[in-house]
Symmetry: D2
Subunit: 344 residues, 4 copies
């Protein structure tokens, strides 16, 4: 049984583990005030091209989102997200638990546009309604799509004009930035968003996300919020060490490229076999629509999520690849399609 | 410079790291639904002697406290803690951030008694005041003291009679249970508290705390709360693997015993040199009262916290030992006292 | 300028004012523990036919909703509402501010059905999502429609089977129950819902809503929640006195009948003049679709809300009547339509 | 049975009722956007001497406190209060329910000094603790004492230097400002605090408190917060009308003077009879220490709170007077003391 269920089925890339082992018995300051964490933060600021950015490390994505969003908003302010957005669907109301409404916009491709947001603004006219203040986007999105630079630029300008904050959830940022379709870099994110995070958990780390706060007014007292949300890791260096290993060379992007390539191979084979996809993806998640009987057969050897019922006899499944996905497993699964279309 | 600043300056005990390395590329379910985590939970339930207990793993203590306390209380209910209690002092208002008042009782030894609690109950008489519903205690406490079994039994019975919940913060539970003064076991905690947690971060793990819920009515839907607080680790097995390694043999208690022994050695030498202590401790934290000039000299070679000003020329310092504390460092620091009392 | 903008433009029915004046200098207990409030509560329990119901008085509807909903739900539980529901649209995120997600279902007639709810339940499958626990309905709804007894019965049974709570917002309950279309009584609400409130503010009172809690498990400690939300009125009797005056005789329902009759007259005249309505209403809110130029003309003499743009030249407006609406104003406005259709 | 239990046992001063009756059938805008409310706000700004102040009306004190404090603070910020402060004792954790810790300072006279606050600041040194940001004081205090202008000036300057907000709870502000001991005016409050409220409920109104926000940065979007907390009264004019009646002439202060005078008479007689007081008060609450047997006798004819046990045979009681306290009742109770000292 090989799993294409998600991108957090394995541990960490061996180089990260080695770095943890090597530093294991060194004594350092706690709570991320050690030299590893500081070095990792400096490294990221350099890559992003924002010397003044504030970088904070978290253990996981929901934790990052809830801490950042609740720190950035005043009590009456709300965040706008796509209906597929992680904060809207799969965080058990974590944002609402901090007191803020998540306003959702129905979308099919996981992406928000200025038009979507304008519609929300138009509908929120006075103090009897929440005040939309932040835009939450994911890149890559929860359905595998990515934002092009022009799209992000449009959103960024729209936010500036309308006095909104732009926050980007980068749980799968590696996959997004190394997607063949992508024309963005880390440094574009630094200049176009108010804050974003770089996901480590789904791209090579045991755990860890790096929140980058670009807008000055959002930086003040931020460590208080981290601590209050239970997110200040005692041995904070554990994340710093991993991020240093991911970004010292190009490892982070190499790992993401591998994940994308594996997804791309699968996509190619499945397409060749005549199947279509729920949505066009160039990242590490693909959503082929298959006959239910074929899905059943595949389940004997592969783990994956059934994403959505299409009709009585077809469903879309989700196949996720990662830095750890073995090429032979991909060839094997792909082979099932190429050899026996309709008979996988 | 050797640090006695805290018990989270190093990484993990090598056996835990080895277990992480060994399992690294295995594919498992996420979010703690893997076999490692399940095995670790079973192991703990066995050791505690409560087959029906619910065991959940967290990354850190503040996270554990805020998730458990907010899940267990209704909105108008409050938790009573010693004035030195971690939730009252060093969690940046994390409990209040979930909506609950922490009622503090001024104590000098870090411990709550039934009399303290009765006084709080007497003062809370109607719906214009919060309703005291939970007792929060730490073992060992934040000032190094421990609860004896009789004391915990008294609290437990008091809570039952008064319809209160008893919650024990075991960030340093290893040190408490292996203290020479202690007459308690894990299984006593299982029968005397409604919930408690077993701290891993401060006793050999990279990170990780195991929350044990003993009272049936507190178990329902608990994973929703974990997720909502951003505390459901994607690669949940990381903690399960470590707890399995800590509890398969007796490693957890061996590590704690080492920490206690190191503190005890230090205490002996400092006492021998004629110094007194802020508080009598039999765990891994000691609080000697020293002349300021000696403190200054020690700071050249040792890192530690200055805990409290005593008078113009004296202060209490905090020395913390851990599973990783090197015996030679202890001998060296102890030697400073034994060789040259007053001249350290 | 006569206003059909809402049903809270005037003060209170004179009989309520008289009762307030008559009792003004009497000394009573504060916080609703006076004999007026107790008598009003007894009176309501009698009318509802639930001797064991708990009745609590509030100043306003948002306050009632937020106190009740946050008291009834655990932190991870959510409430399902129609997309038009007051808690979803016009309470500035008050429910989210207490930590709970409001799950909305897109509807055109303001009403929830079992099918809607089943769809939500089907989409919430595990602890990564909030747990839907309460159904929020309004009667009459925010778009003037009402629930028939059979519909409420279906919802009630569905909730019992699915372990959900059924909560009814009765800000305009008087209008709903006296609507020509209605086949329900107060006592039906008592047996079919877990809790509901009877709106006074919009039907004859200066201010005041009576929350009726029918389900035993929701009653405990409820006054703590009222106080904590700032909703325990010092001179609580002010609301008790008004509710006694509203329900001693049939005043509450007489006032609502008047409001409905006024709306019905308007509806009749507008319909006669050939205009259609956004939605069929039998309560005190109607939503005629009119040419924009006619709307403009009407605005010279009447205040009302423009509810929704229909096309380039037409909009739906909202006309609201109340216990205080003067019949002559209705005749006058109606006359504008009957005399000069298309030329109002 | 005559009640000295509190200052909210009766309704409103007749002139306020008359104003309500006179305006009753007038149609106005809802939610405090009517001309009465606007006029009342203008009137207050004039009296305070702050043309740019923002004035918002609330129904009650807890509601005012929780809305203002939660609007003014960021999530990690805390408010410092005297141990006797209303928010710390008698609001059922309303502030904590909005997420903020209330840091209390043990005091005997209900008043905070700069020294108290400095001690709190010294103890809060980093992000592991909440950040003290606001000072909450009451005037008059919950134990009847008042702040002198010099004391408030000291606090105000201390707050400016330390970047703290100064918030004054004026539930009994009328009594404080008309106290013989007082050397302050409304306009002093406007220049020395960042925000304060003028209590109507306890001084002549049916209900109502006027929050005055002096500091510009606290004004933005404030109505959103009012609505979100369920505190935006539909018929907002009800409070505006009453405040206009209270402040058009000098009624507010006349009523408070009466209350103070009644308390003063009682105090004089009780003192003459040889009894002492728990605390020296010049406002409308006094706290005589009496033999328990005399308390028992008084309870046959008078309602009041037993405040505190002093020793086995003595207790302090609280006697509260108000604008509505009848002079003959005071003479009668006072007479009990003057005629029969020890034999009341």
């Amino acid at each position: 049984m090989y799993s294409f269920k998600n991108d957090y089925s394995e541990g960490a890339h061996p180089r990260l583990l080695e770095a943890l082992v090597a530093s294991n018995l060194e004594q350092t300051e706690g709570y991320g005030e050690d030299h590893y964490t500081q070095r990792a933060a400096e490294l990221l600021k350099e890559k992003i091209g924002q010397k003044d950015a504030a970088v904070h490390f978290f253990v996981g994505g929901t934790q990052t989102n809830l801490t950042a969003i609740s720190a950035f908003l005043r009590p009456h302010e709300a965040v706008i997200a796509a209906s597929t957005g992680h904060i809207a669907t799969h965080e058990t109301g974590a944002i609402e638990a901090t007191g803020h409404k998540v306003i959702t916009v129905e979308v099919s491709d996981g992406k928000l546009t200025c038009e979507h947001i304008q519609r929300v603004l138009d509908a929120h006219t006075d103090e009897h309604m929440v005040k939309p203040k932040m835009i939450y986007i994911s890149n890559s999105t929860e359905v595998g799509t990515i934002y092009k630079k022009g799209e992000l630029k449009d959103l960024s300008e729209f936010c500036k004009v309308n006095n909104l904050l732009l926050y980007l959830d980068g749980a799968r940022l590696g996959s997004a930035l190394t997607s063949q379709e992508s024309d963005m870099t880390l440094s574009d994110l630094g200049s176009l968003t108010d804050a974003f995070y770089i996901g480590g958990t789904k791209n090579g780390a045991l755990m860890g996300e790096a929140l980058v706060i670009c807008r000055d007014s959002l930086k003040e007292d931020f460590r208080f919020h981290i601590k209050q949300k239970g997110a200040l890791l005692a041995k904070g260096r554990l994340i710093g060490i991993q991020f240093e290993a991911l970004f010292r060379d190009n490892l982070y992007f190499e790992l993401a490229e591998h994940a994308n390539k594996m997804a791309s191979l699968l996509q190619f084979e499945i397409q060749k076999a005549g199947y279509t996809f729920l949505i066009q993806s160039s990242s590490n998640q693909i959503f082929p629509i298959l006959p239910n009987e074929i899905i059943k057969k595949l389940q004997a050897n592969y783990a994956f999520h059934i994403w959505q019922k299409i009709d009585e006899s077809h469903s879309a499944i989700r196949l996720v690849t990662s830095w750890a996905t073995k090429e032979e497993a991909v060839w094997h699964l792909g082979g099932r399609f190429s050899n026996l279309p309709g008979e996988v």
